[in-house]
């Protein structure tokens, strides 16, 4: 075991490649600028769909969703229209730290790792963790985290009512992560130290428009958050020593929202979906005669007979219905602009033992559109509290030179490549 970790991995949830480039060069993140000059920065593709639980599950397993089985934050429970919420227990493949015998890892705040479970090292679960005791391994760590005021997440509901309160809460939550990382670092030595900041994603959801608009009332607050992250990055990189693997990455990017597009409303208008008495707690409102519906962000499922109580589409018609929906999305224009950037078909996007549970289509939007799958949305187009939408094509990946030859880093990586790079770095 070494005194500094063999691998230090810093995740910045939801940070786009172009933000990294801009803030590294305009002086907002001077440490980042210095670090970038000593390694390789790439634009990275996220998972499909590009939500954090799917993307991070792909990062840590190195497998596509067809293999690890996590397609989103919620599914419908088999044979019902009720939601289930996949957890770490449902992840159908092992994260890399469970498959490196003799190596100790500290893993902090990786989304999709709740509840925490036995491992060689320490783990504090990220989003959607509910209870710190269940989010922490080993249990002896719980009182230590309570003492330093550890916060699992920012209270995002504040972003809807009081932006200043949200920003104060975000700063507190971020500082609690900094205290936690310092505390765990001292509790080492570790072979792998893996820390994810998720406040960057929360900030993106509410205030991403402040990134491109310098006169936005919260433009300074937006930059200030990244300036603080930069100080912490500098501190960690300094501690990490010179010859280990040092990696930074995001799980997806962010872009501005012009319009929210309610995709179930679209399916209803085109006759694919009949909504009856929708309730926010279930998809019980998917009525008789519906041929397709969507779950967030835009995972389209054909309403198959035998799979859903009111499903009437015979399996033989599954592909045909999916193609009809794909064609409809392909034609959808709002304000004269096409909405769908890419329409991902099940068989070409996913492979593995969980293929059958995969959505039939995943629609990825052009910049400026955010796809939402509320069942009860009254209009096709709306504008909500959010100003940022996830983007699939501009996450980032950075590796400091040394541990891995530059030639081993794919020119256009996707999140599924990350695990291999980490393993290669550790194995040296």
């Amino acid at each position: 075991m070494t005194t500094v970790p063999r691998a230090v991995i810093i995740g910045l949830d939801g940070v786009p490649h172009r933000l990294i480039e801009r803030y590294a060069s305009d002086g907002t993140m001077p440490n980042l600028g210095r670090i970038l000059s000593r390694g390789t920065l790439r634009k990275m593709a996220s998972s499909v769909p590009d939500v954090s639980c799917v993307a991070w599950s792909t990062v840590i397993t190195g497998k596509n969703a067809g293999e690890h089985g996590v397609y989103g934050f919620m599914n419908l429970r088999p044979g019902t229209y009720r939601f289930s919420f996949p957890t770490f227990d449902d992840l159908g493949a092992r994260p890399f730290w469970e498959e490196m015998p003799g190596r100790r890892a500290a893993v902090i705040n990786v989304p999709g790792t709740y509840p925490a479970r036995e491992m060689n090292g320490a783990l504090i679960s990220g989003f959607v963790a509910l209870d710190l005791a269940k989010a922490t391994h080993p249990k002896a760590l719980v009182p230590e985290l309570e003492r330093i005021g550890y916060r699992i997440d920012v209270d995002a509901s504040k972003g809807h009512s009081d932006m200043d309160a949200f920003l104060r809460d975000l700063a507190e939550e971020t500082e609690s992560k900094v205290r936690a990382y310092r505390h765990l670092w001292e509790r080492g030595p570790w072979d792998v130290f893996f820390l994810v900041f998720t406040g960057t994603d929360r900030l993106g959801h509410f205030l991403f428009e402040a990134f491109d608009d310098g006169r936005h009332p919260y433009a300074a607050a937006f930059r200030a958050h990244f300036a603080r992250i930069d100080e912490v990055l500098g501190e960690i990189e300094g501690r990490a020593g010179g010859d280990g693997l040092f990696m930074m990455l995001s799980d997806h990017g962010f872009g501005p929202i012009g319009r929210e597009v309610n995709v179930n409303r679209f399916l209803a208008e085109r006759g694919f979906l009949r909504v009856v008495d929708p309730s926010p707690d279930s998809f019980e409102g998917v009525g008789e005669g519906s041929r397709a519906f969507a779950l967030d962000p835009c995972r389209v499922y054909v309403h198959l007979a035998g799979r859903y109580p009111r499903g009437r589409v015979p399996p033989a018609d599954r592909e045909r219905v999916a193609e009809e929906v794909a064609a409809a999305f392909g034609d959808l224009r709002i304000d004269g602009r096409p909405v769908a950037r890419r329409i991902c078909r099940r068989a070409e996007t996913f492979s593995g033992p969980h293929l059958d549970a995969a959505p039939d289509l995943v629609v990825l939007p052009h910049r400026g559109f955010d796809l939402k799958a509320r069942l009860a949305a009254p209009q096709l187009v709306s504008r909500g509290a959010f100003t940022g939408a996830h983007t699939q094509d501009d996450a980032f990946l950075f590796l400091r030179s040394g541990a891995i030859p530059e030639s081993a880093i794919p020119a256009a990586p996707w999140v599924g490549d990350v695990r291999g790079l980490i393993e290669r770095g550790i194995a040296r």
Binding site: V51, F73, F85, A133, A156, R202, P280, D296, K372
Partner: protein, 267 residues
Amino acid sequence: MDELTELESRTIYVVREAYSRFKRIGMLWSIGKDSTSLLWMCRKAFFGKIPFPVIHIDTGYKFREIYEFRDRYAREWGLDLMVARNEKALAAGTGPETGSKLDCCHALKTQALIDFIAAHRLDAILLGIRRDEHGIRSKERYFSPRDERFQWDYQNQPPELWDQFKSSTEGHHHLRVHPILHMTELDIWRYVEREGIPIVDLYFAKNGARYRSIGCACCCSTVESEADTVDKIIHEIATTDVSERAGRAQDKENAYTMQKLRALGYM
């Protein structure tokens, strides 16, 4: 003294302690097995006549059996029964089908209680919660302060050593008093058996299923069971490894998960 008698004495001690410190006190009675056992011990503490109101938070969605049981024993035991209902929310149609379940619970239970405590200016309420019910409850105290927003700061609670209870309140706080905190689910059933306490029928198995925890009809589910007597229930609980609130706990976790996802615009 046998074990059950010791547990009972401890409860009666806390009940009397609370009553002697607070003028404006009431007891919450959900009509479930725990609060009914607590009610039984309160009757014993005051020789049959409970000197404070017994409050039922009525969401309007309880099982029919619960209302029948409540009215029958309120009469037989001479209780000063008060019913807390959020009439405004009910008139506005709040229910498990109209909004999220979390919102429904908040409006019809939490808000109903907040309003009731304010209207009757209560400084303390007795509740039948037990330490073994849920992980977070293991951090509870016998005397547990709540602030004006009903928040419980479990990291800021007075220690309770050698039965020295801090039972004063500050400012707008009220105290929650938990006289059966030390009893387990199994203790309760053994006590119900020993004392012959009447219990709502829903707890007893019919057609291979029974309720292990009761509340609103829409949000409770049964467990598989053949236990149709108290004796059989005791045997079942002593040998099961399924948690008492398994059905309800999962619902609650799902509700929290949805709340967190919604705050970020999912769902």
